[in-house]
């Protein structure tokens, strides 16, 4: 039995979710309406998409990428998906299954690309070969593959499933380091420039509790389990810190992020590159870079020369429990 006091703010019917930052509860129908409204608002506020756009969605099989693909399709946008196989053992196999099932049930077009097939390495091997945290190799790889697929495929915009929690956590980390160049780039829309497609984040007005709830209410079967290689990373620690504050002071994350976008981001315009540095072209792939070889080509060179490493070998013991 749902308690008598828990009623939808809109229709007074039984609520299925409480959203403290909105100081309200919602039934399934009006929760869906709220999410849709927030996404439309983000798209309009930041001039993300137009009906003429050819959209590519970066799809992982997790809640955010499937939610954003579902929302855009529901709003009438035509969007294709690209799934990148990272080679993280069972985790990657299951995430690919989820992405495939989602696309096929809805008649959507999904392309799959495996790092090992295309570039001769996977993420566990890259982590071992570079002796850096796996998320670093993963981010570099995905950025390159998604950017290239968007440009080569004739798409006008790349959509990612970054949500409010992702953006607030990255902002928190960049602020702790006062990393001006990263802060200057932290926008919900990155306009296209030579070598880079336009990139947009339509979920920035939704928390990840909301994107997960969207999937549950809509019956989307997403990969719930955490990436075994991400467990214990800094990004998760920033999210935990922000959620501790959010629990006692609802609206903290939204205030932190949206006040940054409104008040600080304009002051940082034009500071995306360190002074004196200029963008050149990678001698191997032609991507924009400040060196002679871009970070991705460096990674390919190092990781593809290394013998394949199974994921179990690069996971830290005792990680993953929260």
């Amino acid at each position: 039995m749902v308690a008598a006091g828990s009623k939808c703010r809109t229709c007074r019917g039984p609520a299925i979710i409480d959203l403290p930052r909105h100081n309200a509860n919602f039934c399934a129908e009006h929760f869906i309406e709220l999410c849709r409204r927030q996404v439309v608002k983000a798209i309009e506020q930041f001039d993300m998409l137009s009906p003429q756009d050819r959209i590519l969605v970066a799809v992982s099989g997790g809640k955010d990428s499937l939610a954003v693909w579902d929302l855009l399709t529901e709003l009438g946008y035509h969007a294709d998906g690209l799934y990148v196989g990272l080679g993280i053992g069972d985790y990657s196999d299951t995430s690919a299954d989820k992405a495939r099932a989602f696309a096929s049930e809805r008649g959507l077009h999904l392309t799959e690309f495996r790092l090992r097939d295309g570039y001769g390495y996977d993420i566990p091997t890259a982590a071992k070969a570079t002796r850096r945290v796996p998320c670093s190799a993963c981010g570099t790889s995905k950025r390159h593959v998604f950017d290239k697929a968007t440009l080569d495929g004739g798409y006008t915009v790349l959509v990612t499933g970054h949500n409010l929690d992702d953006e607030a956590a990255v902002l928190f980390g960049n602020t702790l380091r006062w990393d001006v160049e990263y802060l200057a780039r932290q926008l919900p829309v990155l306009e296209s420039k030579p070598g880079f497609p336009k990139k947009v984040k339509p979920l920035v007005r939704l928390s990840e509790r909301e994107t997960a709830a969207w999937c549950i209410v809509r019956g989307i079967d997403y990969l719930v389990d955490e990436c075994p290689m991400a467990a214990g990373n800094k990004h998760l620690a920033y999210k935990a810190a922000l959620n501790s504050m959010e629990e006692t002071s609802p609206g903290t994350k939204a205030g932190f992020y949206f006040n940054f976008i409104e008040n600080m981001a304009p002051l940082l315009a034009g500071r995306t590159m360190p002074q004196g540095l200029e963008l050149g072209t990678c001698s191997n792939c032609g991507s924009p870079t400040t060196g002679s070889l871009c970070a991705f080509c460096h990674l390919v060179e190092t990781a593809s020369a290394h013998a394949p490493v199974p994921v179990e070998l690069v996971m830290k013991k005792g990680r993953g429990r929260r």
Partner: protein, 65 residues
């Protein structure tokens, strides 16, 4: 009630009746980082969970930057 937890996946038994928020507090889980599903349906924080309910506590935080 049966309570399914993740990361790592495990199942525990808890006594009912108990409110969703009270269950999360008891398990020291942050409300902002979890959703609670009772018998297959999402429920809000003040919903009451009973002895014969099957409850899933689903973490919503994902790690990649």
């Amino acid at each position: 009630m049966k309570v399914l937890l993740r990361n790592p996946r495990r199942e525990i038994e808890m006594d009912g009746p108990r409110r969703v928020h009270a269950l999360l507090t008891k398990l020291e889980l942050n409300r902002e980082s979890h959703l609670v599903i009772r018998n297959g349906t999402l429920v809000p924080g003040d919903a009451e969970l009973l002895d014969d309910d099957i409850v899933e506590i689903r973490p919503v935080i994902s790690g990649g930057a």
